[in-house]
Amino acid sequence: MTATTASPASVQDNAPRLAGDLAIWFFILAELLAFGVFFAAYAFTRANNIELFNTEQLELNRHAGALNTVLLLTASYFVVRAVQAAEREASRQCANWLLASIVTGFGFLVVKLTEYAAAFAHDISLSSSPFHMFYLSLTFFHFMHVILGLVILIAMWNGARQGRYRPGDMNGLETGAAYWHMVDLLWLVLFPLVYVIH
């Protein structure tokens, strides 16, 4: 019925742009820098205490760490699917993918809590050694980011159920998704650095 014309929206879609609010990207940069400093401090403290770090690292549950990597990668993938569903105006699917990512994200917390329970049962604390100090503070700092990420995902799930996200009105969803992916990205450095590199 109507001739196809290039709408301004489609022209904009092809121009480079950041997904989500500019503000979240500044926030993400600040977070990356903070964690970067932590990672560097860990790496150089380890370089000066190789034997201690190598011995105590073996006490960590690598299997739990690897399982948590799978959980976070999967939760991120579910968030991508949620964004793609919103682009197709499939609000219900968007909400379902977000719910799947929330469940997977909670799985990460459960695995981490069992790990902490085991550590505390072995009298591991912030002051028991430099390695334990880094292990607990780095993973707990990250743990709190996962909790915040889950709060955001739950808020977005609520929004998606009300049909809030659709093409042209994706900003809220993209902003929250970017934060969640950052949490995943940080773990992809933290896990090999603290659990595996020996």
Binding site: L18, A47, H63
Partner: protein, 93 residues
């Protein structure tokens, strides 16, 4: 219809499967006791690649202005370079 910056389900699923396979591969390396300098180098390269997929594809920075791609990918390069330098310093001990 313009191409979405968030990719399509098929490509994303393929990327996710590859990320999981890479994770299982490094997990198996660890389980088999494959550490040592070469093991660490392989692990670092795989971890870097996984981070790049998250940044470029999942965060859709592939379609962002160059500055933002450079800032985020640059962060990964710097972080892994620091880890590598510290690791090599530790070897010399």
């Amino acid at each position: 219809m313009s191409k979405s910056m968030h990719g399509n389900p098929r490509t994303s699923t393929l990327l996710w499967a590859t990320l999981i396979l890479a994770t299982l591969a490094t997990w198996a390396m660890g389980a088999l006791g494959e550490t040592g300098t070469w093991g660490v180098a392989v692990l670092a390269v795989i971890s870097f690649w996984k981070g790049a997929v998250i940044i470029l594809d999942f965060m859709a920075l592939r379609h962002a202005p160059l500055l933002w791609r450079a800032l985020t990918m640059g962060w990964m390069v710097v972080v892994w370079a620091i880890i590598a330098i510290a690791y090599i310093k530790g070897l010399a001990q």
